[in-house]
């Protein structure tokens, strides 16, 4: 929940309880737990069997992504993104630290809100998962061949990258926008002069070339708060829809001052029109400072590069590129149905769910059905784009997903329920309670042309009495509903890591087929790789000692190193020589003020160690690799500065010339 602080949200929920009762009474029986045994059977994945879907749940303030199996709700892996992971060295090793560089320096944390799977032709293709960093504006690419973050791009002129990283139907772009308008370029101005200096910003980022993310163009917008986005498709292909609130342009006590206007706006951006303007030379390059970080596929070493300019486009100089659609009461989600005809807005404080028609919008633009303009951007008439309103849906509509069978499912934060309604007739047909205060909800493929409409997952902010208590801080949760029948049925309730904002899920087959099982040692281009035990060695350059080591069941080579002196920095470059699935080796040394290494087969990783005292210090494998894992160890001898002990490692080539092929 990015909009309201938790305590406020509880107060809000309390104040609205009276209103909420009316809704709460209708149709509550629909998700009764009468068929508990039946529900249990439908989420039970027997030992040795596998889940039907991968679900990627954003970790919120944890800065990471949780990978779960559905329908079981079992946690499979946590992928560090904007975070450090001592478990495997992510964000600690020389190879991965550049991934967390920003123009503000090394930032090992962010607030990760939304996930977006890459698409081909409007359907999830299982290549990449994109995520956003809200606080220090960034987007990241996770490669689903190996479930690892491989690219991070910082966004200049943004503050609170919330409407991100939603993807276009062929992954040409992911988007970013600014939740907090700020002076552009940023400068020292009085906050009270918000209306004069503060600007909004929407960026389109090229995303279909791994390692080559860049900002294609940046639209400079009125100083509102930009919130969420979705790409059009079908009739609305080439458009992107962004909600905005605080059209009042308040700069203090927004909970009151930004809730004054009867309507705020959805910004409809015709990105094809912007592309044409850029081609026609209507953009201007502005000086900025941001970072692009990526992991080289073959060396598996990341690099951070500085970028210093961005192409900016003023909507007024590119007519036909942006239109505002009036939308009731601080809209949150702007969700496009599978056909691309309808855009559903979730007005947090609205008493209806407005549904815009993109077909009507295109006609209204043609007819110039404008009610005015905002800073030169045309505002369409509400009635001219409206397909209809869902009446009495519940309280606090936020997000909508679709089952591909003509129904929409909207999360109701305040009345804490999922509401199912018919996209054509706009009638509510079912409602199911959530425990408690659902934010986003997710139907696997719910944002694509062909949803996998078997389940809806509610992502809840509050759990209160639902689990064993763990002190003041409680878990957040996800709840899985079966939506194959007329009535939603609650199947499963499971705790999540961090706060799950949005999530995606995808048919497991689209991902399992492209799994990397290990990295090829022959293709390892790490500058300090040792492709066999013959290539290991110890070298000194000034006060830095490089140790090229190999790990294979069940020994390191070299395993004894002498000649290190106090004041040296020791770099252990450890290559895992294994070429088999599920055989990582770990590496740790006593007193290292960093994390361990976890080295995948065929990979090289570096541990940096500055010995602080004289003596002999053990190294060992930390991942139970084999029956003789406990024997996988060695020593480093540290002598006084200026000692005459020769630098050497007992590199040897055993009779078995393993690792040479």
């Amino acid at each position: 929940m990015s909009l309201l602080s938790r305590s406020r949200l509880l107060l809000g929920a309390g104040a609205l309880t009276v209103l909420g009762l009316g809704y709460a009474c209708a149709g509550r029986g629909s998700s009764s737990l009468a068929g508990t045994a039946d529900a249990a059977q439908r989420v039970y994945v027997a030992p040795g069997e596998k889940d039907e879907l991968y679900a990627f749940l954003s970790g919120g303030f944890g800065g990471q992504v949780g990978v779960y199996g559905l329908p079981s709700g079992r946690l499979l892996r946590t992928i560090p993104v904007f975070s450090q992971a001592p478990e495997n060295g992510w964000g600690y090793t020389d190879e991965t630290k550049p991934m967390l560089e920003t123009s503000y320096g090394f930032i090992p944390w962010d607030d990760l809100h939304h996930t977006a799977l890459s698409q081909t032709d409007g359907d999830d293709d299982g290549r990449w998962l994109f995520v956003n960093g809200n606080n220090t504006p960034r987007v990241a690419r996770i490669d689903l061949r190996h479930f690892e973050t491989t690219e991070i791009l910082e966004i200049p002129n943004a503050a609170g990258n919330h409407a991100s990283p939603f993807v276009t139907p062929n992954t040409e772009y992911i988007v970013s926008s600014t939740r907090f308008s700020i002076p552009v370029p940023n400068q020292d101005v009085p906050i009270s002069e918000y209306k004069k200096y503060f600007k909004g910003q929407i960026s389109f980022i090229t995303a279909d070339q791994p390692g080559k993310m860049d900002i294609a163009f940046q639209l400079i917008m009125p100083g509102f708060n930009y919130d969420l986005a979705r790409a059009g498709k079908g009739p609305s292909d080439g458009w992107m829809f962004f909600t905005s609130y605080n059209s009042e342009q308040a700069n203090t006590l927004l909970e009151v001052n930004a809730s004054q206007n009867d309507k705020d706006y959805i910004a409809a951006v015709n990105y094809r029109a912007v592309e044409a303007c850029v081609k026609a030379g209507k953009g201007r390059r502005a000086a900025v400072d941001y970072r692009h970080n990526y992991m080289d596929e073959f060396s598996r070493v990341s690099r951070s590069e500085r970028r210093t300019s961005v192409l900016q486009v003023q909507p007024t100089e590119c007519p036909g590129s942006v239109f505002f659609l009036p939308t009731p009461k601080s809209p949150h989600g702007a969700d496009v149905d599978p056909t691309g005809e309808f855009v559903v807005a979730g007005g947090k404080l609205a008493t209806v769910i407005p549904v815009h028609s993109t077909v009507k919008m295109l006609q209204a633009i043609k007819d110039k059905a404008f009610e005015g303009d905002l800073e030169g951007i045309p505002v369409l008439k509400y009635e001219a784009t409206l397909a209809g309103e869902v009446k009495e849906p519940g309280l606090g509509p936020l997000h909508t997903e679709f089952d591909g069978k003509g129904f929409a499912y909207t999360s109701m934060f305040i009345s804490s329920e999922v509401v199912k309604w018919n996209v054509k007739t706009l009638e509510v047909v079912d409602r199911a309670p959530t425990f408690y205060s659902v934010g986003h909800l997710m139907i696997p493929g719910g944002a694509t042309r062909h949803p996998y409409g078997r389940y809806v997952l509610a992502l809840n902010k509050i759990t209160k009495d639902r689990y064993l208590p763990t002190g003041p801080e409680l878990t957040q949760s996800a709840q899985l509903y079966d939506i194959t029948g007329d009535k939603m049925q609650l199947l499963l309730d499971f705790p999540t890591q961090g706060e799950p904002h949005y999530a995606n899920a995808i048919d497991a087959k689209k991902i399992t087929d492209r799994q990397v099982k290990f990295y090829s040692i022959a293709e390892n281009r790490h500058p300090m790789v040792a492709r066999s035990e013959r290539e290991t060695g110890v070298t000194r350059s000034g006060k830095v000692v490089h140790i090229r080591m190999t790990a294979i069941r069940s020994h390191f080579s070299p395993d004894n190193i002498e000649g290190v002196q106090l004041g040296d920095t020791v770099l252990f470059h450890v290559t895992n020589l294994e070429q088999d699935w599920d055989v990582p080796h770990g590496f740790a040394v006593i007193g290292a003020n960093t994390s361990e290494l976890l080295i995948m087969p065929g990979e090289t990783r570096t541990l940096r160690w500055v010995p602080g005292r004289i003596g002999v210090f053990p190294i060992y494998c930390t991942d139970f690799c084999s029956a003789l894992h406990q024997e996988m160890q060695g020593y480093v001898r540290v002598s006084p500065a200026g000692s005459t002990v020769a630098l050497k490692g007992n590199t040897r080539v055993p009779a078995a010339a393993r690792g040479s092929n």
């Binding site: 294979i552 069941r553 070429q579 088999d580 699935w581 029956a627 003789l628 009779a655 393993r658 092929n661």
Partner: protein, 200 residues
Amino acid sequence: MTARSRWFVLVAVALLATAYVLPLWRVDLVAPQYPEGLGMLIRINGVGGVKPNDLNSINGLNHYIGMKVIEPDAIPELKWMPWILGGLIAAGLAVAALRRRVPLYLYTVVLLGVLGLGLWDYRRWGYDYGHDLDTEHAIIKIPGMTYSPPVIGRKKLLNFTATSWPSYGGVAMAIAAGLVVAASVATLRSGRRDPGLKSA
């Protein structure tokens, strides 16, 4: 020799030729930690893994029990077996061209002999790897335990179950041998009935 026998020999020669591309023998190893299995394919001119790194993994495991590294380049048989096969094919073609009894009978004996020798050599090779262990450096030493894979069949070797069967090329060779024997038998019988046929 009869026309049918001649066709039998020609088909047998064609089957023998497939052994240049098809693996002769397959050894599969399955253990709790290797549910997907590791495997070796024995070809006329090499030993390889079923999956790209299987041989490497098998060698990695074998070092625990002190087994020698399986290095295809160090196995001399793999160098000259393709030539022997070539000789068998050439001889088969000659037998079919000559259409005489005695060369056919001789060829039958030689073919069976060579295939038998090949099997014996394969068994000897397996025995040697399984028994000639580096006991000084072996990590796991179990008194009396040896690790020869079966020639045909299944055997438990510590945590691994080893299964060994002829592969496509091996089956093709067996059928070829059967056809050549059948050709000889048919020729023998027809010779008794019709002494007018060509003979040596």
